[in-house]
């Protein structure tokens, strides 16, 4: 499953292979700010500087993306070159002398900041990225105290807030094109590109169509990589504050697994600190009436999706039903769901019909919970704290009203939640810990690991294997390492042996599964499906965002592979420490199937409330 180098030819690294063979060797001696060093041949000046703790300012550079070299912030002096060179793009292939600061360099960088500021409309204090803006940081770094080359005083573009998820404010755009590289190269969605040229260059959707009407999957990865506030999420917190203030409303917050692993970053903590208990306290202090754990409905998802898978396997193997689609694809990532609706509409039958945990929870809250607690569902406002921008779109899908109401009223990102906590005057890390509310206060570690790529698969296997064989999955401490890690596409299998009688048709089956994250990888998997290369596979997990939810479009900025790894670590640690680690063993899950979904997973009632249909959208825009 080797993937070709995805970056465009223009941005591929220097081809050092030939030089390597000439016997110069794999290392080269250079001088960096007067210090002699030996560095790997072909390594960029920027990487070398970072290895040596030398700060180089960057804007268009992003760890996750291919090199652009267009902002020109990272200029350095290379001896013998007439012009300054961009550290990000310059591969060291000969014994060069590099100076990362000099008056020439300083002046050039300052000029570049000056030029960007002259075109950057707005003021920092009225901006969502205030204090977390890369342009602002550079302005400070270079001591900008006036607009040397003027400053735009009038907005030139209309803000596009047509999308539920992503707002585009091109007056703040500095044309670093990280969003373009994110959308086209990293995610292979292809919504954003630069149009026109020269001074008229701007980032645009196809024919300037509003974002809501194009093939945007709402993953919000562009937001996470935008250095300014040109791209930001559509923030519903004003409406949420209003609902909280309204005494007639019963406002419920459900919190997804990954925001708790990352929200500490918004309060200055290093990545990888779990804030579950503090977050619960904060939500109550803000005024939410109940705080529930989305992991509960993640467990519910496992029950439904796992049962659906077993059902499909039975139909395919026992009934020889040719209409059953295998492998079954997960459906909890709304970005992925919209991706397949646009790009592979003819393959929608492969998707599990199970709703995502967010939407299941919404439906349960406005039906079962409303009945149990005697509250009119019309008065319930459900807010979902999600790591995700696409969840905002998902809760606004017209079909998501099986409770008779809008199942989930608002999708709130980690960043927006942090803002609400700050607005309430709270310092999250200093708050005491508290638990989730009942009746959905308990959840399994299986639900928790939904937050990371491979988590859904791992959770499902823990349950499916046990349902089929009556024994726990045969992995040390229930940790299925094959599902974990940041490899783009992972695959593995588990042999089903000594099955219980009900599932004897699976005896000896190698349960083969694939885990992919990032829609570029999803595309690879889908193309394999089309070519028939997924024959014999049973289950595929796909998350739209790199790293899964912990790298979601609603997560704290910045994000990078190393940050995502730390967030994932926090989640797996918390799973390891959980009392219950399998979805089907969650007592609340047993309770809800006994009390409400009485005909069991994938029964009639659950089908009405917990399953959904998809729309064949296609990729043509009319």
């Amino acid at each position: 499953m080797k993937k070709e180098l995805r970056s465009p030819v223009s941005q591929r690294p220097f081809n050092a292979e030939n030089i390597n063979k000439t016997g110069i060797g794999a290392e080269v001696s250079i001088e960096l700010n007067g210090k002699k060093l030996r560095v790997p041949l072909g390594r960029s000046i920027l990487d070398i500087c970072r290895d040596n703790n030398i700060h180089i300012p960057t804007l268009c550079y992003h760890e996750d993306l291919c090199i652009a070299g267009n902002c020109r912030m990272c200029l350095v002096e290379v001896e013998g070159m007439k012009n300054l060179q961009t550290a990000c793009s310059y591969p060291v292939t000969s014994p060069v002398k590099i100076k990362t600061f000099s008056n020439k360099v300083r002046k050039a960088r300052k000029h570049i900041v000056d030029l960007m500021l002259s075109e950057h409309y707005g003021e920092c204090y009225s901006c969502v990225r205030n204090n977390n803006c890369e342009l602002q940081r550079l302005a400070r770094e270079y001591g900008i105290d006036s607009y040397e080359f003027g400053h735009v005083c009038e907005p030139r573009f209309e803000v596009d807030d047509s999308s539920h998820a992503v707002v585009r404010d091109m007056d703040k755009c500095i044309l670093c094109r990280r969003c373009v590289r994110t959308c086209i190269d990293l995610q292979e969605v292809g919504v954003l590109e630069a149009v026109n040229r020269g001074y008229d260059t701007k980032i645009s959707t196809f024919m300037d169509t509003p974002l809501n009407d194009v093939i945007c999957i709402n993953c919000g990865q562009c937001i996470n990589r935008c250095p300014t506030a040109a791209l930001h999420a559509n923030d519903p917190s004003d409406q949420i504050w209003k609902a909280i203030e309204d005494p007639s409303k019963h406002v419920i917050l459900q919190t997804a697994p990954s925001p708790r692993a990352s929200i500490g970053e918004e309060f200055g903590l290093p990545p990888g600190n779990s804030m579950t208990g503090q977050l619960n306290t904060a939500a109550r202090m803000i005024g939410f009436d109940r705080v529930f754990d989305t992991n509960f409905s993640a467990d519910l998802t496992i029950m439904e999706e796992g049962t659906e898978l077993l059902g499909r396997l039975k139909k395919a193997i026992v009934d020889k039903d040719k209409s059953v689609m295998l492998p079954q694809f997960t459906s909890c990532s709304p970005g992925w769901v919209k991706f397949i609706e646009h790009f592979y509409p003819e393959k929608l039958d492969y998707l599990s019909t199970a709703k995502s945990p967010q939407q299941m929870f919404g439906a349960v809250l406005k039906t079962f919970y409303a009945e149990e607690s005697g509250i009119d569902p019309a008065d319930i406002v459900t807010v979902a704290l999600m790591p995700c921008a696409a969840k905002k779109f998902e809760c606004n899908r017209p079909e998501m009203n099986s409770s008779g109401f809008k199942d989930v009223d608002y999708g709130l990102t980690t960043r927006e939640m942090a803002k609400m906590i700050r607005e309430a005057g709270l310092v999250l890390p200093e708050l005491p810990k508290s638990s989730f509310d009942d009746p959905f206060g308990e959840a399994s570690g299986a639900g928790l690991i939904f937050g990371s790529t491979g988590g859904v698969m791992e959770a499902a296997l823990r349950t499916v294997y046990e349902l089929v064989t009556g024994r726990p999955v045969p992995f040390k401490d229930l940790n299925i390492e094959a599902c974990r890690g940041m490899k783009g596409i992972k695959e593995a299998s588990v042999k089903l042996e000594n099955c219980i009688e009900e599932f004897s048709f699976l005896e000896g089956t190698d349960l083969k599964f694939i885990v992919a994250h990032g829609t570029a990888n999803a595309k690879v998997v889908m193309d394999m499906l089309i070519k028939g290369e997924l024959e014999g596979y049973h289950f595929v997990e796909i998350m739209a965002c790199p790293g899964g939810c912990i790298g979601g479009g609603g997560q704290p900025i910045p994000t990078s592979e190393s940050i995502r790894k730390l967030r994932a670590k926090a989640i797996y640690e918390e799973d390891g420490a959980s009392a219950v680690r399998k979805s089907h063993e969650n007592p609340k899950i047993k309770y809800i199937y006994e009390k409400y979904f009485t005909d069991g997973p994938c029964g009639k009632i659950s089908h009405k409330l917990l399953h959904t249909k998809y729309t064949k959208r296609g990729k043509f825009i009319n």
Binding site: V9, S10, F14, G69, C71, R72, I112, L115, R197, Y199
Partner: protein, 397 residues
Amino acid sequence: MNKLFERKNRTGPVLFSEYEKGSAVKKALLTDRDDILLEIRESGLRGRGGAGFPVSVKWMLTAAANSPQKFVICNADEGEPGTFKDRVLLSEYPELVLEGMIIAGYTVGARKGIIYLRAEYSYIKDFLQSKIEEMRSDGNLGKNICGRKDFDFDISIRLGSGAYVCGEETALIESLEGHRGEPRNRPPFPVNTGYLGFPTVVNNVETLASVPHIINKGGEWYHKFGTGKSSGSKLFSVSGDCRYPGVYELQWGITIKELLDLCGAENTKAVQIGGASGICIPESEFSRQISFEDASTGGSVMVFNKNRKMIDVLQNFMEFFTEESCGQCTPCRIGNVKLLEGVNMIRNNEYSLEYIEKLKELGETMKIASKCGLGQTSPNPFISILNNFKDEIFGMN
């Protein structure tokens, strides 16, 4: 035949000298590749697009690259304002250009050549195509050229679509690959990672056209023309206020004064050397030599007489750059607009000398900070015109 493609009565030491069609290819294909490289090195031939990179080095690097595929690209995207020498070569001496490409392909080990012809010259395309067909049927193009079983080479023509920046070699390659014509980061250079990622030689029309003569008459012969560091001859596209505008083949090292006399210029105030991205030379410096060492040019010589206002020239050039910048890198995209704003401030007498100095400093940054040659040279007219015509411009109001 269309009179456009009739060869005019032209004379010159190299390009416009006598040449027997097909002779250089025949000779080259009997010569060892290394010997051709040596010959080119001895000639001292440097790129004629303006940058003046030694051709032998470019070819050697490409020849040395270990790759299953290589390309030779003829840069016929002659967009520099005031340049039209390539138009003359392509429409009157196409065999020189095509044979130059074949020899380049043979030398570096490429089997495919592409001519990137600017959209404004699309009327030349069919003519060139017919010349290519002619060479194919003569056995000088296609499989087993001149009977050599180990050498195939073919040439195709691609049209640009109206973008000056595509004359920059990496932007040209991007355009060929179906992208916006935005220059790439260098390094890696095209000789290492060029068209489709393969080693690629990109040469100007005039550079390639010089090759057959060098092959026929030798590098030493070629080196005798011109000055030491600028060897050979150069085509000059002369236009503006002179009696005989047109293309002249002259040796490097000619002074501006001599050139002005040749083209019948009188009452001259200034000469813009090297197009919009070049420098503007005042009367006091007309004794300067045209060469890589002194006043360098890709071929454009625009003559302005004493009735012309230099601020008009400057404004025209800066408008040109704001329109033709690809918009990719910050210094060029925004910097050129700031310089143009400065020109308009001067025009409207709403400037301070202090701010103009600041803009000149910005221009200096653009020269060293921009991604490609466009942004690196676009401040040239701003700085040179404002410096050389201070009295006229700042005293005008």
